[in-house]
Amino acid sequence: MNRTRRIELIIGFVAAVAILIGLGMAIVGEPARIATAEDEILATQIDDATAIYAEQCSVCHGIEGEGIGSTPPLDSEALSTTDSDTLFKTIARGRFDTAMPAWSLAEGGVLSDYQVSELVALVQNGDWSTVADRVVNLGYAPLVPFTAEPDPEIFSEIGLLPDGESLQRAVTTYAAECVACHGADGLGTTLAPALNDPVVRAQTPDEIARTIDLGVSGTLMAGWDGTLDEATIDDLVTLISRWDEVPDGAVPAPDVPIPTTEESIALGESLYQANCATCHGVDGQGTGRIPALNVESFLLDTPDVAIEQIVTLGVAGTPMPAWGDRMTEAEIQAIVGYIRAWEPTAPAVATPAPRGGPPWMQADQLVLDESEPTDWRAVTLIALLLVASSAFVAIGLSTFRRRSKE
């Protein structure tokens, strides 16, 4: 009893000392830990904010916050020393009478308060050259010039319409200044509404002119009265009021292909696996009656534009939904880039998985790739499992036999 008592007292003493040392270390290390935690949190927030910046802000503020045209630069010392509250309110609520819209969800925008505060952290502490790399890698650059060339044949056709010269001038201006946001033929994009639209045409010329002159506060639409002269704006009003007379295809979409980079393929892969793999198969091999994508017949015959259109608009009468409602153009192009990357290795004939649905119904779970070298860790693990289970059984059985005889 005495020996046990001594051992117990020693263990107790050691434990008590360990508690004191542990607490002491926590106390001594606390300021450093708090500093590290602050840095880590800031770094994460800036990282998140950079992705948001690339997607939402770089259109106007430039790929490294340098500002484009009348949009102010963000990489200034004045802004990085502005207090958080002012920056937060500017981003959350927008700025009246400028192209800066309100971004907060509460104000009808798309960002949560937390995301806005992350952007504030970026403006205050961000490294803009890193931001530029990210924006380029995510496929949001180059953004300028976002202009288009009017189709020459249709352009001359327009000239034959009543007041054709004015329309021609307007088309030229539209192709240079407006197409980036309002899209080909004025049909609208995710950034701005369609102008080639009966509802817009129903407005009086004065109303349309006022919108162009003054802009729409709280949206990306800036006032153009400082940039365009009165005559040009009048031409644009004419075009917008009479767009139904202009043949389709007058202003094509700006030809700015978004480059495929390693990062955009990675983005495409994660989006594909999250949204498309359930039906089209993890490797694009198709499932059941859902067509395969990773197959020569599809990839060779279908250009990127066509895939992009299928993804954006969906296919009527099939389970393929219109993803344009849920993803940005850049995201869809990243998916297209990922699908395109299969082309060099695509098989001539696809072998679809039996059907979609839960994992237990999918046949190709454990991919046994014979070209890979033997994975010795795997072999060791299997061997260990076999040895352990058979040893348990063997020892159990043999000792059981012996004891039964006793």
Partner: protein, 473 residues
Amino acid sequence: MRRRATISPDTTNRTAAETGLDRARKRLKPPPVPTDDRARSRLVLDTMILHLHPARIPQRTLKWTYTWGLGGLAALLVTMLVTTGVLLLTNYTPTAPDAYLSILALRSNVWFGDLLRNVHHWSANLLIVVAVLHLLRVFFTGAYRPPREVNWIFGIVMLLLILGANFTGYLLPWDQLAFWAITVGTSLISYVPFIGGWLGSLLLGGPEVSGATLLNFYALHISFVPLSLFVLMALHFWRVRKDGGLTLPRAAGEAPVEKPRRVTTIPYLIRRETVWALSWIAIILTFSVFVSAPLEGIADPNLSPNPAKAPWYFMGLQELLLHFHPFVAAIVIPSLALAGIISLPFLDHLTDHEGIWFRSGRGRSLAMLAAGCSLALSSAWIVADDLFLDWAAWLGNWPTIISNGFIPLAIAVMVLALLDLWVDKGLDGTLEERVLFLFTFLAVSLVVLTIVGIFFRGPGMELMWPWSIASGH
């Protein structure tokens, strides 16, 4: 020496003139009154301890390798969780985005905030392990048989409450990990027959995990679950004493001890408990200084991680879901398991081998045999199901609840029945040995399922090697 002198000033010399009446009068006197502060505080402390523990305990029950101090450790962990939890309450906001911000603030603005969170997190996870080990200890030493069957049931309810406390606490940081683990975990509720949808929206406060869920879980986590746990803990401790203390450990083949030698609780038991508690506090504290509780980015309902996994203690269940129809995996099998575990003391009620690990030498061999069989069979089943078992395709015209639910379940039950038949007839096992075999088999299967679920499931819940998951290929 000095202490004794101060405690008992009353022991006057017994003189020859003392009569029997004097002696009786002396016995009726109240106990000696301590005269200094040290003695007074000691008396109060001792009295408090003796409210919880009996004054004397059988010396045998002090044996480390019998109880492993698991029940006491669980009680210690609950105490630590309450202490740290109450402190954490002062810095937590249970509303949707702010919850995450308050955790960030805890990390960056609060002195010892991280340490507090880490101790709470690791103690909570350890509590599950300890509670399960405690259950196994009680089962394998046969300490759940009458009259202890009531306490066995209290214990199982407490284990469920501990799981509930952990699960509700898991959501509170409101990070990606929390959000998706709870989304995966609560999605099973919809498979409860008839009332599943209603029950799900009651618990979640809506159709999906949201701010309302956070508030519900917060309320459950800080009031309902701990309060129920305290009541049951009190009952559990009371029943231990009511049932005559711990079962007496003995070696295989040793006859039951009629009159065990007893030692006083103070200091023999108390010293051990103190040493054990101090050691574990030291371990948890040191661990928490070095290893932080996980925290990912803020919860984003639009961005699901791949794979989305439930909390680790439910990974066995999630693994089961990959092999059976959800109704069978999430409702039928857990209900059967729970019913089985509750009915154990009524099936296996003979107290002959109480206090002997694995009942006997034969029992130890049988448990080992069961563990080996289970290790081999359950991993073989998991791999086979992944490679070629495809009930749904083979029985294409049947509803999947039959083809992929009850048919594989029936086959699994048949395998168990065959094994049981083998133990019964082939190995000439008694009832308690058959129960021991099946329990060990199923317990090891659960461990295998949990390990596979945690470590061997990669993106899309595909079967992968742990190192392939880590390297992202």
